[in-house]
């Protein structure tokens, strides 16, 4: 009977083209609008570190001034000072730990066609690649020594290696960074999570770094962060050493803790550390630190902004209006065809058969509306990419989950829309339509 109902549905849709178009348009526009915002919100909520969500933690220390807590929902600065970060690095409790920040420098090649360019650099400790599960194509990371003592070594992203060395194995070769030579230790696979949960305060949807640089180079190069540097008071900075010892926060910090015992040990370690600092007159606020899992880190950093949530709810309400619209139109259409349903009843169709036949018709509207809705979603997303001027290029696109969701949403919406009209028509008394007036 499925095929029979389907052909009846298509015939019925063709017989009232304007009304069918109106209903399909309503469903398509509703699905298009809600899938555009839902896709954005879904892509913005992706957690690239989901598989390590139970073992990774972003570290925060409340080093802020006595009067005012740090100005965000967690009430703690997002980052650590260099002084605190290097102190924490001395702990051997975490399996792996990363202190890092964003930086930038020029890359040039002598005797080459390549124009010098500014590379996005991540200055980090060696655990970065293992902690975030980034595979290497060639070579590996620098040795741990380079995290504390200056060694001119780098790891390249796949794209940078392609740009500089045509994708060849460049391990052991040198690149010119801000005019100085550095040895390539390794090349990583393409790795560009979006949102980049490991670094949310430099544009959550920006690209990952081009070049990775060891953490032990700060003093030699006088590195200032290209990310945020925040403080709660002015300090007299006479030298770079003063800056490294200051209260200014600019280092992002992650640890990997394998089990709850390790986590407990680390919490005790942090407590003891803050107490030792309080003894030196630092940390005026009540003792507080944060160990936050990646999934939670995305939430507290408000990657999905209030604006996004508003748009999400609004577009769902929009879809609801479209569904109600479709209910009204379907009801009108089905009731107009009530005499035909009456004849079918007389010829042996059960209520169930009439109900299925009409539900099939609304399902078809949903299917066509859903496919049109996907096209509208694709158009909507490219509109968003345009409005966001490139910032959303990584996230304003549909994956297959969202394509299926769009069709599903359209069919569910139109079946819901068709449910009442189909029920109503299947319940009407056939005999009143059979008698000629």
């Amino acid at each position: 009977m499925f095929g029979y109902y389907f052909s009846l549905a298509m015939r019925s849709l063709r017989s009232t083209p304007v009304m069918s178009a109106l209903m399909i348009a309503a469903i398509a526009v509703g699905v298009g609008a809600s899938m555009t915002t839902l896709t954005l919100n879904y892509m913005m909520s992706q957690n690239a570190l989901q598989h390590k969500d139970q073992v990774l933690y972003a570290v925060q220390l409340d080093s802020w001034g006595a009067e005012n807590a740090a100005n965000n929902d967690s009430q703690m600065p997002w980052e650590l000072s260099y002084r605190d970060a290097t102190a924490l690095l001395r702990s051997d409790i975490p399996v792996r730990q990363v202190a890092m920040h964003r930086w930038g420098g020029t890359v040039s090649q002598e005797n080459s066609e390549l124009r010098p360019f500014t590379a996005d650099i991540r200055v980090t400790t060696a655990d970065f690649f293992a902690l975030f599960d980034i595979p290497f194509i060639h070579g590996g990371t620098w040795n741990k020594e380079a995290d504390t003592n200056p060694q001119r070594q780098v790891v390249l992203s796949k794209a940078t290696n392609e740009k500089l060395f045509n994708g060849e194995n460049s391990v052991g070769r040198t690149i010119n960074l801000s005019g100085e030579p550095y040895t390539v230790m390794g090349v990583i696979e393409h790795w560009n999570p979006s949102p980049k949960v490991h670094d949310l305060n430099n544009g959550a949807f920006n690209d990952s770094a081009d070049i990775y640089l060891p953490f032990g180079l700060h003093r030699q190069l006088q590195i200032y962060s290209w990310g945020n540097t925040n403080g709660w008071k002015s300090e007299d900075i006479e030298s770079y050493e003063d800056f490294l010892n200051s209260h200014y926060v600019w280092i992002q910090y992650w640890v990997e803790l394998e089990n709850s015992q390790q986590k407990k040990d680390y919490e005790n370690f942090l407590t003891a550390y803050i107490q030792s600092q309080k003894a030196e007159g630092r940390y005026p606020r009540p003792l507080k630190f944060g160990l936050t899992q990646p999934s939670e880190w995305l939430v507290v950093n408000e990657v999905l902004s209030d604006d996004n949530r508003v748009l999400g709810w609004l577009s769902l309400a929009f879809l609801l209006v479209c569904v109600i619209n479709a209910v009204a139109l379907l009801l009108a259409k089905f009731l107009r065809k009530a005499p035909e349903a009456g004849v079918r009843r007389a010829l042996g169709a059960s209520r169930g058969a009439i109900f299925s036949q009409h539900l099939m018709e609304s399902g078809c509207i949903g299917l066509i509306g859903g496919i049109a809705g996907i096209l509208l979603t694709v158009a909507g997303l490219s509109g968003i990419r345009l409005l966001q001027m490139g910032r959303f290029d990584n996230i304003a696109s549909m994956d297959w989950v969202m394509v299926l969701a769009a069709i599903g949403l359209a069919i569910v919406a139109s079946l819901l829309a068709g449910l009442y009209p189909a029920w109503r028509i299947s319940r009407t008394n056939p005999s009143i339509y059979l008698k000629t007036q």
Binding site: G104, Y224, F318, A332, R336
Partner: protein
């Protein structure tokens, strides 16, 4: 009115269909009024004056390849070169580009040695040409003199002796009096900095900052040792920006090829900063327009169907002497009653939705005037949508009464 009772009983017999229309209107009003208050707020935000000649300004960022670099000499040579490009009015250097979302801020006080009670402002390190290069207006006092210029680095805390501030910031520090000739102080600092001038307006670095418009300017050339870079702001004659922009990278590289140069426009920076608000406005406007369109079509469709169903009845009324106007009025009145119900429901829904928006999503409150305007517009759309089929109904021939359908 005489006709109310028959309309009410007709509506009661079609209560589901009438309810569906009313429900659509209610939801639409709730969505549209909340969306339009957001659109209004964001549009006002974007329309705020920046105080700058945004359309005529080009931004240049450069980084020398080698850290072994004489930056002060390069800056003089570059600015000289830039000023000599035909069409360029003025060029200056700056630690940050305004409106770009990247900048620095610090606390300032009107008394020395303070820790609390200060006001935050963006600070810019630039040269005496900045007023002309940004197209700012000096409201009071004087500009910097070349002799007041200093070299500043992160490590050397060499405070300037003079500062120019925005009018907005002047009014925060010295409310109700002229700030010129008075002093401001840094955090926990006893070093007095004389306010020598006040500029009319400068929106600063972060357009969404609660204190946007607080800005101070120091006569300094900022050098980040170990990580040398420089920023220039170039103002062209109106309409000349794009022509000038094309030449800049080539001319600067010609003078000194060993550096990375990025050239953009200030307008681009500004648009980037407002991209989120702009997205909100465009998406919400699209939603409002589509929604109104969809329900208008829905009302046309449903009213047509409904009237079609009652063609015979209308014919009978016409045969019994009802005028065209009376028939048209009947259906418009009917629509009015449905729309009125929907809009009453919608106003309640709009207020509830707005409560959630304010509470959970930090959106603006919905003023009564906006809601009433939206309600009136929707009522108008609903009536206009009903007008088409109502007029057709009015034209029904009395002969319909005798015809078998």
């Amino acid at each position: 009115m005489l006709e109310l009772r028959p309309i009410l009983s007709a509506l009661w017999r079609n209560k589901i269909a009438a309810l569906l229309i009313a429900l659509q209107l209610a939801l639409t009003l709730a969505i549209v009024s909340n969306a339009s208050v957001i659109v209004g707020e964001r549009s006002e935000k974007i329309a705020r004056p920046t105080g700058m000649a945004v359309e005529d300004i080009i931004t240049v960022f450069f980084q020398p390849v080698s850290q072994n670099y004489d930056m002060p000499a390069a800056v003089s040579a570059d600015l000289e070169l830039l000023r000599n490009i035909p069409g360029v009015l003025q060029a200056t250097h700056s630690n940050h580009f305004p409106l770009s979302g990247s900048g620095s801020a610090s606390q300032y006080y009107n008394k020395p040695n303070q820790e609390t009670g200060g006001e935050a402002a963006n600070y810019y390190q630039t040269n005496p040409d900045f007023i002309e290069a940004l197209g700012l207006k000096l409201a009071e006092g004087r500009n910097f003199e070349v002799s007041e210029m200093q070299i500043a680095s992160i490590n050397e805390n060499r405070d300037s002796n003079v500062v120019i501030i925005t009018k907005q910031f002047a009014e925060t520090l010295y409310p109700g009096e002229s700030a010129v000739g008075k002093y401001l102080y840094g955090d926990r600092s006893s070093h007095p900095i004389e306010i020598i001038g006040v500029v009319e307006r400068h929106l600063g670095a972060w357009v969404s900052w609660s204190r946007a418009g607080n800005a101070v300017f120091f006569p300094e050339l900022f050098l980040a040792e170990g990580n040398l870079f420089m920023r220039y702001l170039i103002r062209t004659e109106p309409g000349q920006r794009d022509a000038v922009l094309k030449q800049i990278e080539a001319k600067l590289s010609e003078r000194d090829p060993q550096r990375v140069i990025e050239v953009e426009t200030l307008e681009e920076e500004k648009n980037q900063s407002y991209a989120r608000d702009n997205t909100m406005i465009k998406v919400l406007a699209a939603v409002m327009a589509l929604l109104t369109f969809i329900i208008a079509l829905g009302i046309v469709g449903l009213t047509s169907f409904w009237i079609n169903q009652r063609r015979k009845q209308i014919g009978v009324r016409r045969a019994l002497g009802a005028t065209r106007a009376a028939i048209g009025r009947y259906f418009l009145l009917e629509n009015c009653m449905i729309a009125g119900t929907g809009i009453a429901l919608g106003m309640a829904a709009a207020q509830i939705a707005n409560g959630v928006m304010v509470e959970s999503f930090k959106q603006p409150a919905l003023p009564m005037s906006v809601m009433l305007t939206c309600a009136l517009i929707l009522l108008g759309v609903s009536l206009a949508a009903a007008l088409v089929p109502a007029l057709r109904a009015a034209n029904t021939s009395p002969a319909m009464a005798t015809r078998n359908v």
